[in-house]
């Protein structure tokens, strides 16, 4: 018997990140006490190498790792997005970690490991690797949320994130077990084929399994009514990690959701589409109304990320087909603005204090004009004003919903976007129309964070003015899913 030949090339980007993570950990171990290990430069080098590997893989046309881990146009699109998110987070981190006194080597290792999990999550074509990737991502993030050991808020965030995360993983796993029982396989394609001709018992198992999967994914993407952890965790976690969670985890979770529901469960679309539509409606409404009531900026952005999960779900209802490319495009726009928004708050942190209330950012434009302008760009894009990525993205999301016959979803989405203008633009008004209160308490914007924020703002504006290249790529990625 000859051992099976496995082509490991498709997993190279993830492997590079995992090895870099270990190298950062070792570098920390060999650094004398009291000195800083070169965690950020190592991580940046690893992430750039992984990005090159993704480019080479794309030129080679992707590949397949033993039928469980597939690198097609869909995974490559998400690979580029997730590694880009990682780059921005690592650029934002050094100054923030120093300002808050949590500059430790394991930070970068855990960030890289969670990125490995995200890469796996969007590439898995099989339910075992889906669950393993999900947990690789989540376990690293539980630890990262609680990295600030002296702050009770950070510990509380870690505990709440762990409990809801493990709870949702349990639902997801139980759903996977039922799908396995119904179809006799854990491969997405085989599950999809088996469910096309179900017997009566199989159909019941499959419907229950689909429901449980939806609950599990609902927690992961923070959709109402499974969102209650998000504001607390986003507020308590270190701000750079909040940026990673809101941009990276949401992208990876939506990637896995699209792949699982698109490849394994299209036969059950008639039963899950109304459920997803209902989730989308309550998520858009509750997310936006919740954000209205917030005075803490991190909490406000957390509710806004809940609301955006609702807009994205409205297009997931229209998947497969035009809905997928709309979701893919919007995830890029959404990642850029969230990295920017949370990143701007992190960049201003000084001596453990961050700007968290409207008063804290009052008059920011007169003292940090560039940063205030960037933050205004992100907030305008979140609102969905034309000539920003958010407008183009929302246009495609709602058009997908209308084309699929869910006009009511688009109407609610547009109405809620109008509501959202109030709490986003309130921040812009505070930055530009009010006088600064008291002394200049903000940190000077560090160069690496400035680069990261500038990049995010450039992506937002570029996608708003000229979305074609990314849109073409998203269309290609969506087609590889069918």
């Amino acid at each position: 018997m000859t051992p099976p030949v496995v082509d490991v090339l498709p997993a190279i980007p993830a492997l590079i990140l995992a090895v870099t993570g270990l190298a950062v950990l070792l570098a920390q171990a060999f650094t004398p006490r009291g000195q800083a290990a070169p965690g950020a430069p190592f991580s940046l080098a690893g992430l750039l190498a992984a990005l090159v590997a993704v480019y080479l893989l794309a030129a080679r046309g992707g590949g397949d790792l033993g039928g469980t881990y597939v690198v097609d146009a869909f995974s490559l699109y998400f690979h580029a997005l997730i590694i880009g998110v990682g780059l921005v987070v690592v650029l934002l981190s050094p100054s923030y970690l120093r300002a808050t006194g949590i500059d430790r080597g394991e930070y970068y290792t855990l960030v890289l490991f969670s990125l490995v999990g995200m890469l796996g999550l969007v590439s898995c074509r099989e339910l075992v690797s889906l669950f393993v990737s999900l947990e690789v991502m989540s376990v690293a993030l539980y630890a990262l949320a609680g990295l600030h050991r002296a702050r009770p808020e950070s510990q509380e965030a870690a505990l709440k994130y762990f409990i809801t995360g493990a709870f949702s993983s349990g639902f997801l796993l139980y759903g996977i077990a039922l799908l396995y029982g119904a179809s006799g396989s854990t491969s997405l394609v085989a599950v999809g084929a088996a469910l096309r001709t179900p017997g009566p018992a199989t159909a019941a198992l499959a419907t229950m399994g689909t429901g449980l999967l939806l609950v599990g994914f609902g927690f992961k993407v923070a959709s109402v009514p499974f969102h209650m952890w998000a504001p607390d965790v986003y507020e308590g976690a270190p701000t750079t990690i909040t940026a990673l969670m809101s941009a990276g985890v949401k992208a990876a979770a939506f990637g896995a959701l699209l792949r699982v529901f698109g490849q394994a469960l299209p036969a059950l679309a008639a039963s899950w589409q109304p459920a997803v539509a209902a989730l989308a409606v309550v998520t858009m409404v509750v997310g936006n109304l919740g954000a209205l009531a917030q005075s803490n900026l991190k909490r406000m952005l957390a509710y806004s990320s809940v609301a955006h999960a609702g807009y994205l779900l409205a297009a997931v209802v229209a998947a497969p087909g035009i809905g997928v490319e709309a979701v893919l495009f919007y995830l890029v726009a959404y990642a850029a603005v969230n990295l920017g928004g949370f990143g701007a708050l992190a960049a201003l942190a000084r001596q453990g204090r961050e700007p968290l209330s409207l008063d804290d950012v009052a008059g920011l434009a007169s003292r940090r004009p560039a940063l205030a302008a960037a933050l205004a760009v992100y907030l305008i894009s979140l609102t969905g004003v034309p000539v920003s990525a958010g407008f183009v993205g929302k246009f495609f999301l709602f058009r997908a919903a209308v084309n699929a016959g869910w006009t009511s979803l688009a109407v609610i989405g547009v109405l809620m976007s109008v509501v959202s203008a109030y709490y986003y633009l309130r921040v812009v008004v505070a930055m530009y129309m009010r006088e600064p209160l008291g002394e200049d308490a903000w940190a000077p914007v560090p160069p690496s964070a400035g680069l990261a924020l500038g990049l995010s703002a450039a992506v937002v504006l570029a996608l708003g003015v000229h979305p074609e290249p990314v849109l073409t790529w998203a269309r290609l990625a969506a087609r590889s899913l069918l």
Partner: protein, 100 residues
């Protein structure tokens, strides 16, 4: 013993796990609830593999889940311990700074 028996036991374990997670206030009890949920799914996987599907994928999956559950609990206990050091209580109701 048929497949139905295993599925019933597994569903009962799952319900007990969810109940424990929602009603217990001690963090360690909540962790036990999470373990019950994961293991109820494991029982399902193994039962389906043995009586239903005729392949070993389910049993293989269960081994992965056991390993992951161990890693998860290691991190969870670390989080509970650091919170205990700050607050001197394992009671989840008292972790209530973040709200609104």
């Amino acid at each position: 013993m048929t497949l139905q028996h295993y599925l019933l036991v597994s569903a009962a374990l799952f319900a007990l796990g969810v109940l424990g997670l929602l009603t217990r206030r001690n963090a360690v009890n909540v962790l036990m609830g999470i373990e019950l949920i994961l293991n109820s799914a494991n029982l399902n996987l193994v039962a389906f593999s043995r009586y239903g599907t005729g392949n070993l994928e389910g049993q293989l999956f269960a081994v992965f889940v056991v390993v992951i559950a161990a890693a998860e609990v290691a991190v969870a206990l670390a989080i509970v311990l650091t919170l205990y050091r700050l607050r001197r209580t394992p009671n989840l109701d008292e972790a209530d700074i973040l709200k609104g």
